[in-house]
Subunit: 255 residues, 2 copies
């Protein structure tokens, strides 16, 4: 608790006396985590020190499963960054059933829109897997925004890039068959432009399936079919025999 880098050790400093790891459940830690937070769409491209200052003004929360983070209608004076665990955003239907609108996994952020534009959260949020969150207050955020003229500009820029990614995903969902989406997902995991590549799936097949918009059974079948195109998968490691050939398969089949 006497860690000099409060409230959050993005990059644990030498003098840190906090007992144990500061954020025990992290998949990433230290520099890797810092890199991830900095790669958040909202922060992508920001100076390290600006981010550090913002983090310094923010709070780290350790939340247990089944905690209600906030409910719909609550004042939205901050937004959240998911460092670890999972948070679901949901609405309650008139008849009492809940409808999950979105599930946030590390590392992502949510609630910016509510905070920035509406002032109140439109949905309920509940922790569905023990989580570590950063709560960023509106005041601190605006301070950051105004601390430097370029910050707002940078944020706009990074949101634009975010938008580009999202709309390209929409295009893919609309015009590509599932197997191509899977193939492109795999291709995106490697920097190799040709030859064979060995990549590790970042999460299990269930999540990968939902990521590309299909059921896990279909994913199995797709991976089976991709074997003919030189994609060998074993556990969560995948071997692409010929990156370029696979890439050409995708583009030419896509018309």
């Amino acid at each position: 608790m006497s860690c000099p880098c409060r409230p959050l050790c993005l990059v644990p400093k030498p003098g840190c006396t906090r007992p144990g790891t500061p954020l025990p459940r992290h998949r990433a830690s230290g520099p890797a985590l810092a890199r991830q937070v900095m790669a958040l769409p909202l922060f992508d491209g920001l100076d390290h020190e600006v981010l550090e200052r913002l983090m310094g003004d923010s709070t780290a929360l350790a939340c247990d499963r089944r905690t209600l983070l906030f409910s719909a209608g609550a004042a939205a004076d901050s937004f959240y960054i998911v460092l670890d665990g999972q948070v679901k955003l949901f609405a309650l239907t008139p008849d009492g059933r809940e409808s999950i609108v979105e599930v946030f996994t590390p590392v992502s952020s949510f609630g910016e829109a509510a905070m920035l534009s509406m002032g109140a959260f439109p949905l309920h949020a509940e922790i569905i897997e023990d989580a570590t969150l950063i709560k960023v207050g509106r005041r601190a955020f605006i301070n950051t925004l105004q601390s430097d003229r370029s910050v707002g500009y940078r944020m706009l820029a990074s949101l634009c890039r975010w938008h580009q990614r999202l709309s390209s995903e929409i295009r893919h969902l609309k015009e590509q068959p599932p197997w191509q989406r899977v193939a492109e997902f795999l291709l995106a995991l490697t920097d190799a432009r040709e030859g064979t590549a060995l990549v590790a799936l970042p999460f299990n097949k269930e999540i990968l399936a939902s990521r590309v918009g299909i059921r896990r059974e279909s994913l199995s079948r797709v991976l089976a079919r991709l074997r003919d195109m030189g994609v060998r998968t074993e556990g969560n490691s995948v071997r692409i025999d010929d990156v370029d050939a696979l890439r050409r398969h995708c583009t030419e089949a896509g018309q």
Copy 2:
């Protein structure tokens, strides 16, 4: 040419002496156009006067089909708003074929990301249907951004809302069957919460189909099936017998 509202008559002023319609190929004009431009994700929520000032510093371009607007690598010192016509963004593959990355139709904007972050366009842009564009320079944009502290904030907010729309569209594409997407599209066209509604399709079925990510034949079949749920379509006008019933159909079928 002596129109007082240069370079663009968003809302033609009484004293306008410009001969004929200022932007002849517009589908929308006057207040309707202004509304559309103001609803651009980037500008959504901005004050009318701020927008007017920005437009005043910008240039309207009338471009002919097959014009190359810019090529990849060109300095990105402005971005564009498509008022009319169509623009395609494409890349050239090593073997000389072109791969279309995106097609922009009215009213939308492109190139913000390139302008804001990279400084150079990553793709080629070509007019594929006689177009009217607004070219917004970086300088003018930044001036707007700095003219008022709240502008940057507002733009961030509206981009966040934009993001929400996009990610909700992604969710829909992934977890809803086509007929539900069609139904929700129709429901989104009316404000009615119950009873019967009469809506007009904003574009032809071909485009509507691609909007929801299916072929036009499938759209026909979907609309045929929706007839059983009290959706009568004739030409581009659609009658929803019971808005609430249809909405319930959607949510309960979606689990």
